[in-house]
Symmetry: C2
């Protein structure tokens, strides 16, 4: 039954399908970071960050351990950094088209008009 594989992958993608959560994964790339530091870097509400961390925890993207007063988060598997690296290449290969598709650009389209 291949669909449980698909479901699993879909859940991982779903967990990564938010700008804040991608930012979190990238911040964890070089080693564990405390929740507080993450919140500071992200510049968002504490509760909101905590919710996103909760999503990543639920899908086992990140691990957390208490360190005295605070909670250290880390990437469970660096393989996920690889995925983001590939996404970076993908992005670079398609910048113009994808930015346009995302509605980030309306200029340069009207050059020939």
């Amino acid at each position: 039954m291949p669909d449980s594989l698909h479901r699993f992958k879909a859940e991982v993608f779903q967990a990564l399908a938010h700008p804040t959560r991608i930012a979190i994964v990238e911040l964890l790339r070089d080693g564990p970071v405390s929740a507080g530091k993450l919140i500071e870097q992200l510049g968002i509400e504490q509760a909101n960050a905590s919710q996103h961390l909760s999503v990543l925890r639920a899908k086992q993207i990140v691990l957390n351990r208490k360190e005295g007063n605070q909670v250290l988060y880390s990437l469970r598997d660096p393989i996920l950094s690889e995925v983001l690296d590939i996404m970076r290449r993908y992005f670079q290969a398609h910048i113009s088209g994808t930015l346009a598709a995302l509605g980030e650009i309306e200029k340069a389209e009207t050059v020939g008009r």
Copy 2:
């Protein structure tokens, strides 16, 4: 502003964050396939498949071209297959844990109880 990059990546992940759409991408791995063939392989409602294809089109994951009566879909960039390959490795590395996390297993947890 790094956040537009994050937004872009998040949108791609979002597009892939559904079992049916993952299945579609995998079916397109070895070359273009018609919408009809896809629907047949997926075994879902025609309308539903078409909606998922629409999502993939909107995010530029797939390309489509009319071929007489039908519409041929293809992967825009095979790099996405790579991503799925990596996901497969990720999955294999964490099967038991992730299945448990996805609630697919309750057995073997009660061994020591």
